[in-house]
Amino acid sequence: MNLMAEILIQVVIAFLAGSLLLGLHRKVMARVQKRPGPPIVQHLIHSLKFFFKETAIPKTVSKVFYVGIVFILALVWIVGVIAGPVAHDSLLILFGVYAVYKIVEHNSGSSSGSPYGKLSCVRAVLSAATELPLFAAIVLVYLMTGTMNIGEIITYQSVHGPLAFSIPLAAVMFFMLIITKSPYSPFAITKDKALISGFETEHFGFLRGFMLFSESIAWYVMLWVFLTIFFGPLNAVGYLIGMIVITFITGFINATTPIFSPNHSVMTQITIGAICFFGTLLMIFTGVVA
């Protein structure tokens, strides 16, 4: 197939599947809290609807940056789609994507003139603690498989079985990242409701729709990467079931867990990351893992 056609198809799949999964996530949270909740397609409808809503650029924003950062958010997740589902390239590129996503959170808040956005921007620096367990998980995958190439990791698992069974603590660390990035997460200190919508507060109308478009792709890519590097070669049905199950689990967790304060959030992430990292190293070097 033509490479551009493949990229376009994957981007559309990522957007549609990601939107529906985020809609499902909201539905699960609502049902756990004994509310009917919005329809599953609501997130998708919102994303499209905002493209036609009235949009104005507030006086206090840094104009080029304010619009440019939304463009960069989409750009990094298109890179995520290419490095992941399309090219099966290096995990380090995806680590870079997550790092830039953090910069987007930071700069989206700082480009707005709102104190809420700016406070969220400061918290985005603190929440960079999430990147440490992610990097540690990638290191552990490398120690086990001897490669960072996603295609080669899939091949390794087709011979030795899924990595989730051999290095489960690394999978837990990566799963923590997924919880962190999920909506209404206990670790989502940048989008704490005390900050209205955090770094997105001043991005409304079409720009918010564009952000929702990118976030849908982001959710799909994160779930795809997790399932691919820890649950081996999967077919389309396997990915579908896996993504729905993870969305259910994160929905349950987020519906029943209040948001942490910034210091508790960071310390919890680092503690879980440290326990899982050293636990896995111990398992590898004591021969528990073959």
Binding site: E54, K59, F71, A74, V79, I82, F210
Partner: protein, 69 residues
């Protein structure tokens, strides 16, 4: 609003994406076009489709309700 600029950006990104669909360029060229072209296409399309405030309401819309720092 620079409506003309948005139309040019939309046309450029559409042509670049279509060219990659029709012609088999080297992978790095296709990746570059995809990485910059797809977000640019969505951005320029959105800037064209979004509703604009009435001239008499513009000032009210862009006023920041918070004073900032």
């Amino acid at each position: 609003m620079n409506r003309g600029l948005y139309i040019i950006l939309l046309a450029l990104s559409t042509i670049a994406i279509l060219a990659c669909l029709v012609i088999d360029f080297e992978a790095w060229i296709v990746y570059t076009v995809a990485i910059f072209g797809i977000p640019l296409w969505v951005l320029s399309l959105g800037l064209l489709t979004m509703a604009k405030a009435k001239p008499e309401d513009v000032e009210e819309r862009v006023k920041e309700p918070f004073t900032g720092y």
